[in-house]
Symmetry: C2
Subunit: 502 residues, 2 copies
């Protein structure tokens, strides 16, 4: 039997959910494989309508979803409502991308004479890989769980999804699944388009099931390694797209510290303590110059931290890790600077915590990600020290620079130095709050995620697709999008990108 | 010291090449990392000019390259000249793709109000991953070796390359490297843009070097697994793009057998014996219907096989494997049908060989790839038998269907059944001879290659790129292609694909 725990109180309760048996996992994956074939024949417009229906269904279940998630995650209703809106928006955005059709990367090379002699007709397009297993995170019950980017992008691609319910929010997972399932059925999607399994063993079995063709994962490096080890036992490797830990360095230049240290302290405080610091894009290292302006920024941030109340962490494991990691950071030489007020009661609470070190001292040990409201101020004497220090720590999803307009050359050099170490470069803002849009990239380089793809934004769909080429195919065999008479999507024809005419 | 062997005679000779020491490997990889930074700042047009210069340089060294490769591979001058032309063409094609700029997947989402509230400016583009290690194949000294698709696509992406010289053609590798190096220097490319290492240990060390960011490989499953094991010892995983074994089933429908069995026998014979059958796209299984028409096709192919002379295999290992695999196939139940004439002398020669089995008997053991002039005819009673049998054997780079115009429905169903099992579907042709073009796909489902990418065609460049997003970046920090005033490449602006205006 599966239990659920309210992290605000530490009180557990039984649910009527059961762990999925090995036989059930196999049956669910097999049904997903059957759905993959049917989905393919239903085409893009059907899938777009299904995604739109799912977006509507999320709104219909909003109240129940938010209240369930509140008591399973301790996240605020405001945050959860925003997250649900984001997931609904994402479904609609992906529906529009599927309709637009560029994601297919359709290309036609007609037969003809070439510098290498006569060549056959070759046409290429991306097709869905097949059923996808999705492992969501504890901290995003609606954005990276049974609802969210991985599921939406896989369905958009045409891949059925089998989600693993998160152990920290099983009831939210179940309700999310039921909401998606009802929406899928309402438009006539094949049974097996969306599935769910419960329990860690079921999850491990899922990624070794022969019908699963790719895995999406958001969570810790350790959990990812366990899943990858299971995947490695398969006779055939399958892609694993993992969005793992990230330390997210933020650099304040001397100019920025001099010009607006109070504003940056406030922004940084909000960014590192929002959602109790449980965001993969939370700034974990803040590089602040030595000297008076930097001192002012650090003491303003320390003062905001000291005055703050405790936040609620998602579960007892994360709560336990917070203290353990803080201990390791202090052991490695970090100095305690500030700590907010402790909360009373049995909940998994922790006060915002600020440590300090220097750029010359910074090591991989001092850059361990602490999932929760923790930030390490890193004092530096020169930008060279910053660049060297960032080269010594693991790479990240993001890197952020705060600077002033008259530091243009410094910022260009710094951005070029940071680019190999991060997937997204943020200027005069904060890395938390990831825009869901066409141009977004949330990933790369390792360990921030698999190097070459994103888990947020329209191009997240590319992870669940593989190319197929057709050589001298009769028109009846070709997908509609590759026939000469289809002018509805952008295609590359004989090397030239051609926009649709209708 | 490194030796070279002429497979036509089995005679070995010394070279003045030396195995690369561990220190030299590290220095070469470090120089490549330095070149990566310099290449980035030189921009796309510079790289396109470098690729064009390399294409010209190949022509300049044509005679020497072909004669060197002839004596190291036993491939004919005609075949080698064609292969060299293909590699030169490919360099020019990639240069045009780099100039065109779509490969960057540039996208701009301007800041503004959205259904989720105000959002920042986000811009995305692909950037080179960094130095790439390339391991070429024995059978394509110019198309998949120090010259060829992996090297050309990585350089096109902006990634310096360190190639491992192939043990079967070290002198060809050295001359290829010198040709590329001279061309790179002639346009002022940074030192380290192209490098080479010699010896298996140097290759293993190369893929574990911290400066290497991705690996391209063309060769056997066994060699790939050894390299992947070495890569797995790295603290950070890097992408491995392997183009491995492939059995390439070909299906002759009843209609096609009845209409043109002699022509298909001739085409099939040429396809399975060309380059002595040493092509990853060689049809290894030919499904032929039972009955008189199929009997006629099989006996015509057997007769061509019986009459044929021996081919020269690339090296003693491949020659030894041929006999071993033939033995395993017979052990597994395949029946010998035809065998060409043996050659005299000490060369690594083997006559074309034809075996036979049935669709109901076909197993993974009977579908082992034999690298050389070997084909297994698979007799079938119904298309259902064919589909079931293909489901039992490893997946492939290609699948081919020969049919007649009045079998449209049968062919559409068959193509849909074959699609999950192959990267390229060929109709009324042969899988050997891979067009180098925009729409080509040479890859797809494991073990044919890494699932999601190609090693031939323009999109091969995508393997060596990763996305980066810039949020609220000052124009001076952005790559030229992401600035508002750059209208030279296709970009997606606020969700709309916009073609260049100049």
């Amino acid at each position: 039997m599966i239990t659920t725990t309210d992290p605000r109180t530490g009180v557990s309760a039984a649910t009527d959910l059961e762990k999925t048996s090995p036989e059930e996992v196999a049956a669910i994956a097999a049904l997903a494989a059957s759905a993959a074939r049917d989905l393919a024949s239903l085409g893009r417009e059907f899938r777009a309508e299904m995604l739109d229906a799912m977006a509507v269904a999320l709104e219909g279940s909003r109240e129940q979803l938010v209240s369930t998630a509140e008591s399973e995650t301790g996240l605020t209703a405001a945050r959860l409502n925003g997250e649900l809106s984001r997931s609904a928006f994402q479904l609609s955005l992906f529906a529009s991308a599927i309709r637009e059709g560029s994601y297919l990367e359709a290309a036609i090379d007609h037969a003809g004479e070439t510098p290498l002699g006569p060549q056959p007709d070759v046409r290429r397009m991306l097709v869905p890989t097949g059923p996808v297993a999705v492992f969501g995170s504890s901290n995003f019950p609606f954005a990276f769980s049974v609802l969210g980017g991985d599921v939406a992008s896989a369905l958009a691609a045409g891949c059925p999804v089998v989600a693993k319910a998160h152990g920290s929010h099983p009831l939210t997972s179940a309700l999310s699944y039921e909401t998606l399932l009802a929406a899928a059925r309402s438009v006539g999607a094949p049974e097996g388009t969306i599935g769910i399994v419960y329990g860690q063993e079921a999850g491990t079995r899922l990624v070794t099931d022969p019908n699963i063709t790719a895995v999406g994962f958001t969570g810790s490096l350790g959990a990812a390694e366990a899943l990858q080890a299971a995947i490695a036992t398969r006779p055939e490797p399958i892609p694993f797209f993992g969005e793992l830990s990230s330390i997210n360095p933020l650099v304040v230049t001397a100019g920025a510290a001099a010009a607006r240290s109070a504003a940056i302290a406030e922004g940084l405080f909000a960014s590192y303590t929002g959602s109790a610091g449980q965001l993969c894009t939370k700034p974990g290292l803040a590089f602040v110059p030595t000297g008076a302006a930097g001192d002012g920024l650090v003491s303003a941030l320390a003062s905001l931290t000291d005055d703050a109340g405790a936040g609620v962490l998602l579960n007892s494991r994360i709560r336990g890790s917070f203290d353990a990691i803080e201990g390791r950071l202090v052991e490695a030489g970090a100095r305690a600077l500030a700590r907010g007020r402790e909360a009373e009661g049995e909940g998994y609470t922790v006060p915002p915590t600020m440590l300090e070190t220097t750029a010359t001292e910074l090591s991989a040990e001092l850059a361990e990600e602490c999932f929760g409201p923790m930030i390490v101020a890193v004092r530096y004497d020169s930008i060279d020290q910053v660049v060297e220090a960032i080269g010594r720590v693991p790479r990240s999803l993001t890197a952020t620079v705060h600077s002033e307009p008259d530091e243009e050359e410094l910022v260009a050099d710094l951005a070029a130095s940071l680019q190999p170490f991060a997937g997204r470069l943020v200027f005069n803002g904060y890395p938390t709050g990831v825009r869901v849009s066409w141009a977004q990239h949330h990933g790369g380089p390792w360990p921030a995620t698999n190097t070459q793809h994103t888990s947020v934004g329209v191009t997240a769909i590319r992870r669940w697709l593989r190319p197929v080429a057709w050589q001298n195919a009769p028109a009846a065999v070709l997908p509609a999008e590759l026939r000469d008479d289809d002018l509805s999507i952008p295609r590359r024809v004989d090397g030239v990108l051609v926009l649709p005419t209708r």
